[in-house]
Symmetry: C2
């Protein structure tokens, strides 16, 4: 990934400053981050993906019980979003009381590195907080 910000001499003072001249690579990166965060927007999507990545095929009620604090309305809405983005599939199973299975797609599994990095950092963060007072 090339460096994003061009260096140039300011004419007001002689310090080196970063100008408004943005490279294409920089804009691409900003767009990329915006895209990803839009797909993962909201309080719950990462948790839903995290649960499905670890638990495999799961039903609506499974997820409702597994993801602490989420309400049915939110779960329903977030699942729809994830399905629209093709990160998960929704399959109706014709059991006695009808059940619905959700599963991460192959495409959805490409999110795993992101979620893992986020989880790793959170653990690191906790350790730093009460662990060493550096």
């Amino acid at each position: 990934m090339p460096v994003c910000v061009f260096l140039a001499k300011s004419n007001s003072n002689m310090r080196t400053r970063k100008t408004a001249t943005k490279s294409l690579a920089c804009k691409v990166r900003i767009t990329a981050i915006t895209d990803t965060m839009q797909v993962l927007s909201g309080k719950w999507k990462i948790h839903i993906l995290g649960a499905l990545l670890q638990g495999g095929k799961m039903r609506f009620m499974d997820l409702l019980r597994e993801i602490d604090g989420i309400a049915a309305k939110m779960l329903s809405k977030e699942l729809q979003d994830l399905e629209m983005n093709q990160l998960i599939t929704r399959t109706v199973v014709d059991t006695k009381p009808i059940t619905v299975e959700y599963e991460v797609t192959e495409y959805g599994k490409t999110m795993e590195p992101i979620i893992d990095e986020i989880a790793n950092w959170g653990v690191f963060y906790r350790n730093r907080l009460h662990g060493k007072t550096d």
Copy 2:
């Protein structure tokens, strides 16, 4: 990372289902993700960190010009949040018009893998959209 969800027989029907019995590791993971996302909350923090990680030391106005669409109020507030979490430092420089330099701390640099993964995925996402129609 151990598997999160315990498998158990449901007594209502004889399918294998995921119960509400969550392992400690699972709760730790959920907490970790929540922590990280709280530190990175809002529309701009990842972009600010991204800019500072690539551009090095930058001033308020540099960031305002570099990060497309952000308003001074938001930039100011997000910088304060990041500083409180010790991800960046704020240094007042005694120049003619006073300037302020922001820089990512060593601790803040531990966010780089997350941001890179997010940026990578965003690029991958764009390629998939208009590239191959699979």
